[in-house]
Point group: C2
Chain length 284, copies 2
C-alpha cells in the first residue's frame, strides 16, 4: 500500500490524526523535498522534528528521485506499507498525480490522506473561494525568457469580476547553466519568488501589453507563510504591497476581483491603515 | 481567543494535531451543524465520538444559533478559549467569514486551523486544480423557482477549456411552508442533492437554453463522501453517471474541460469500463 499523506501548510503539527496513523504503520517513509525543506524548516540532514514525531527515519525525495526512482519506491509498496509525504494537499502538483498513475499501473493500492493546501487556505483573507477564476503561475523572468501567458488569464478573470490566485515560482535543485555545459550536475541555490518580484513582473507585462487588465492601483492580497504561526497577510494596491517586506518564503498573491460587502469587511482587517512599514513588518 | 478549527472531510480522525491541541485547551467547544451532522455521522444527541476524542462536551450550533447568538459565543471568547469546529476548511462558507468579522469588531482574537476542503480534495481525481474555472452551486429546483445562473458560468469555463466544480444544494433546518403560515417554526427533514438530481437539472436547463454548453455526452466526475473511507469517485458521461447510485451524501460533481494527457490517464482509473451497475455500486 502506498499512502500519499498531505502534511498541511505550517509545521509538523499540521498532519491529521489519520495521516499520523498511516505514517506510523509504514515501513518506509519518503518526503518530497520540493517545498518541504522550506515550509517545515528542514534541512537535508535535519528531518529530526518529523522523525521524532513519527518515530521513523525519513528519506528525502527530490523531484529527480521521484521521477527517476519511482518504480523502486513503488515496488517497495508492493510488499509493505510505504508513506510518501507531501506539503499541503497531495494533489497540488502534477508530480504526485504521475506517481499515483504509475502506482495504479503497477497494481499498487494507493490511499490518499488530504490536508489543507494554498488553494483553499487563501480563503482566510475573506475572499470567497467560489469567486476565484483560473489560477495562474508567475515564472521567474530571465534575460531571454519572459513568458506572459498569465496576462490573458488575469484579464479574463477581472472582466468577469473574479479573483485570481497567483502561485509564485519556486526553483529548487535547478542544474546551473555552467554545470550543464561542463556535463556534470551542480545546482543553483534554491530561489523562491517574493510578492515584490511578482508585482514587478506583473507591472512590466501590463506596461508592454497596455490593455489595462490591472495596474498599480489594483487591489491585491499578499500572503507569506500561509497557514504557519508567523503568517503575514496584507491587503493593498500593487503599489503598496510592492513596498512591503513580507519576509521569508513561501509567498503567494491574490488579485482581487469584484467584492461582496462581507468580503470587503474582512479584507479591511488586512488593509494598510497608515501604518509605518515597520509596524506592518511586525504584523501577522 | 476564538479558534476556528477545520475538521477535514472524513471523520474524527481528520482533525490535525494543531487543531486537536487547540480544542483540548478550550473551555467551550461548538460545532457547526450545517454539514457536520452528516459527514461525521453525528446525530444531535450523538456527538460522543468527537466528545470522547476531545474529552470535552460539544455544543451543536446550527446556522440560526450562529447567526442569532454570535455575540454570546463571542463574549465567551473574550474571557477564555472557545473553539468553533467546522467541517472541511473554515472558509468554505460565508457564515464563518461573518463570524470572524464580528469577532474582530468585538476585539476578540481569532486563530484559524486549516484543513482539507472539497475545493482542494477534488484534486484526487487527477484533474489539476489550477485548471478549474469559477465554481458553481446547483440549487434544488422547486415548482416556481428554477434559477439557472450556473449555466453561463459552466459555458464560460468550457469555452476556456476549464473544469467546473459543481457544489450541490444542502437544505438543513429549513422552516416548512406550512409552519411559516401558522407562525410557529417547524422544520423540513434535511435534503442533500444527489449527483443524479444535479445532472437532471443541468440537462433540463441545457434543453431550455439550447446553446450546447454541455450535454448528455459531456465528460464528468461524480464524487460521493469525498475524503472518507467509503468515498466513491466515478468518471463518465452525464448520461452514464445519471444511472449510478452513489449512495449516501454528500455528493459533488465536476464537469470536465480540456484535459492534459496525465489528467486523462488518471481519469481512466475512475472511468466506467463495461462494469455492471452493481459492480460500480461496490467500487470505492
Amino acid at each position: 500500500m502506498l499512502y500519499i499523506v498531505g502534511l498541511g501548510l505550517g509545521n509538523e503539527k499540521d498532519i491529521t490524526l489519520r495521516g499520523l496513523e498511516a505514517v506510523k504503520k509504514c515501513g518506509k517513509v519518503y518526503i518530497e523535498a520540493y517545498t518541504s525543506l522550506l515550509s517545515f524548516g528542514l534541512s537535508s540532514d535535519g528531518l529530526s522534528t518529523l522523525e521524532q514525531l513519527y518515530g521513523k527515519l525519513i528519506t528525502l525525495a527530490d523531484r529527480e528521485m521521484v521521477e527517476e526512482k519511482a518504480d523502486e519506491i513503488l515496488s517497495e509498496a508492493h510488499g509493505f506499507d510505504v508513506a510518501f509525504l507531501v506539503v499541503g494537499d497531495p494533489f497540488g502538483a502534477t508530480t504526485h498525480t504521475d506517481l499515483v498513475v504509475r502506482a495504479k499501473k503497477m497494481g499498487v493500492e494507493v490511499k490518499v490522506v488530504h490536508n489543507a493546501s494554498v488553494m483553499n487556505a487563501v480563503g482566510v483573507c475573506g475572499l470567497q473561494l467560489y469567486c476565484y477564476g483560473e489560477t495562474v503561475s508567475i515564472p521567474f523572468f530571465t534575460e531571454t525568457w519572459r513568458p506572459d501567458s498569465f496576462y490573458e488569464k488575469i484579464q479574463r478573470n477581472r472582466i468577469l469580476g473574479l479573483h485570481t490566485l497567483c502561485l509564485l515560482d519556486i526553483r529548487v535543485k535547478e542544474p546551473s547553466l555552467e554545470s550543464l555545459c561542463r556535463g556534470r550536475k551542480q545546482y543553483e541555490p534554491p530561489k523562491y519568488m517574493t510578492i515584490n518580484t511578482a508585482i514587478e513582473q506583473l507591472l512590466e507585462v501590463e506596461q508592454n501589453r497596455g490593455e489595462s487588465a490591472y495596474g498599480e492601483e489594483t487591489d491585491c492580497v499578499g500572503f507569506a507563510r500561509l497557514g504557519s504561526e508567523d503568517q503575514k497577510i496584507v491587503a493593498g494596491t500593487m503599489k503598496q504591497l510592492q513596498m512591503i517586506d513580507f519576509g521569508t518564503p513561501l509567498h503567494c498573491l491574490v488579485i482581487v476581483g469584484k467584492t461582496h460587502p462581507v468580503e470587503d469587511e474582512m479584507l479591511d482587517f488586512y488593509r494598510l491603515k497608515g501604518e509605518s512599514l515597520e509596524q506592518i513588518g511586525n504584523r501577522q
